[in-house]
């Protein structure tokens, strides 16, 4: 057996008759890879570059950056962006609060618990955002239709309160539901790279309580997955349009579309490109930092 393996190995290492052929075999995918990368590179870069050109190339005034300088003064952008960022922060916090204990419990618990959590976190994929929105409008309509002036019940008051335009809790609920599938998968993958049971055991043998062990031992080891979850959720909330536009709120993405329709074309397009590139840079910096950290510790995804 060993002799056979050795013979195969030497044949593979030293292939005099088929050397040219294997070189060609290795050369072809490299050419194919370059072609694939060029085609997709063009496909993904050209629209962004052309959009930039579109925003700086004014048919009347020629090349100028006024679309970008207007970003700082255009009406309505900052309130909309602030609302989106507040919603994003709240959504990330709520996702952490709900999912981190659940994911830890799933790693420690039996397969049945895992199935339950997996199914619950996959359900939002089955109900598209617009269908969820239709359900929300139906609930809200029921609240306002059945209302008798002067005697608002607790539930009806609650339905009014969660639509407060200053901070629409209903969007927080919807966004958290929408973020669950991806956040669960990211956190679960991060957890899988850890030996949670051994880590907890070690911490508890050293006298830490379970809660303390989770906060001081598990969470720091999960930093990469937690950061990933946060940034992907941020991207989701910043770009979210379906729920907020139909329910009549004006966060970032809705402002862009409304502003575009209202004749602020170049500025809104400039804003959308800037937001896309900025989010990407944030994620890139984070992923580069995360890989540098993880390269020192031998974790494998």
């Amino acid at each position: 057996m060993a002799g056979m393996t050795a013979a195969t190995l030497t044949k593979a290492m030293d292939p005099p008759p088929g050397a040219q052929k294997s070189a060609r075999r290795r050369g072809r995918p490299r050419f194919g890879r370059a072609a694939v990368l060029v085609v997709f590179g063009l496909y993904f870069v050209v629209p962004i570059a052309a959009t930039f050109l579109f925003t700086v190339d004014d048919p009347v005034k020629g090349l100028n950056l006024s679309a970008y300088s207007q970003i700082f003064g255009v009406a309505g952008l900052w309130p909309a962006l602030r609302l989106s960022l507040e919603l994003a922060a709240a959504t990330i916090a709520l996702v952490y609060l709900l999912l981190v204990p659940a994911v830890v419990a799933v790693r420690l618990g039996g397969p049945r618990l895992r199935t339950v959590v997996e199914v619950v976190c996959t359900l939002p994929l089955v109900v598209p955002a617009i269908a969820l929105t239709a359900g929300f409008t139906d609930v809200l309509k029921w609240g306002s239709d059945s209302m008798v002036p002067g005697q608002t019940t607790f539930v009806q008051q609650l339905l009014i309160d969660i639509q407060n335009p200053a901070f629409p809790v209903i969007l927080l609920l919807a966004y958290t539901v929408m973020a669950l599938p991806l956040a669960y998968r990211t956190l679960d993958a991060g957890m899988r790279a850890l030996d949670v049971r051994t880590l907890l055991e070690a911490a508890q043998n050293n006298g830490a309580g379970r809660a303390r062990a989770i906060v001081t031992v598990i969470l720091p080891n999960l930093r990469g997955a937690l950061m990933n979850t946060a940034f992907l959720t941020l991207a989701l909330v910043l770009g979210e349009f379906t729920v907020s536009s139909i329910l009549g709120f004006t966060p970032f993405a809705v402002w862009i579309v409304n502003g575009n329709a209202a004749g602020q074309g170049p500025v809104t397009i400039a804003v959308s490109i800037v937001s896309l590139v900025l989010t990407w840079l944030l994620l890139l910096v984070m992923s580069a930092g995360g890989s540098r950290r993880s390269s020192s510790t031998p974790t494998h995804q």
Partner: protein
Amino acid sequence: MSTADPALQDGAVAPLRRPGSVLSVLRRAAAGRLAVVPLLLFVAVAFGIPAVAMAHGAFYTNTATSAPGTASTFTTGNITASLQGGYLTALTGSVKLSAVSALIGTVGGLLLAQAVVTSRFKALRHAVLSASGVLANFGGVPLAFAFIATLGNAGVLTTHLHLKDAGWSLYTFWGLTLVYLYFLVPLMVLSVLPSLDGLRRQWREAAQNNGATLWQYWRHVALPVLAPSLLGGFVLLFGTAFAAYATAAAMVGASVPLITLQIANALNGNVAADASNVALAMSLDMVVIAALVMVVYLPLQRRSARWLV
């Protein structure tokens, strides 16, 4: 919580066969359930209530259009209406667009992911992965604008390359497919990349040592192993394209009928009669289709995990 719970330690150290360990296992199971309760409660309220309201409303008459004071009654009329005429055209249009763009996205995403995985440049991997994360999650509004500025009627490429004379229009089926691929390909890259990483180098070497060509290796080794995650990726892409609304909504004037646009129109009161219950019925149609697709997806995902971990 300052000192370790002995029952917890017992269970964690080793499955000791002691009378106390049964109790400890039970207690630990209870603690595990407790940690999941907030999640389940949240989903029941924020997801369950609207979902039930949608399913309920799809089968009841609209109180706004019937005489005041009358209670809504059970009907299948909403569902029937949602599967007729323009609504049916929109539903099939959505399914067709999603299927075509998901198919192209699956192939394209696989090619791109394979190119990235086999590349020597780590920076390329980071750039592609982070860009994919943004594009797949950011939603369609900026993407729609980017394509309008590039290939729309007054877009940079359209005017410079005189594409209009060649019959190009962004606001068609294939134009919309091109825009959808801008977030579907990244989504496929994200979902298939772990599986490609999991393909063992030894498999390829073994195939080569047995005289297999590259094509034979892919045909008989790699693709069969990847098949579940490729199908799973296709399903995910289909679901995403099917649910997409922002892209089409931002591309005002697109002539492609889509179910999401119809639902939004009905909900916003843009149609003559109050069609909100038909909107709920259309939503239910969407959920049924998405559920059928998901039923395919879940077992597949488990199968690919068995091979590739």
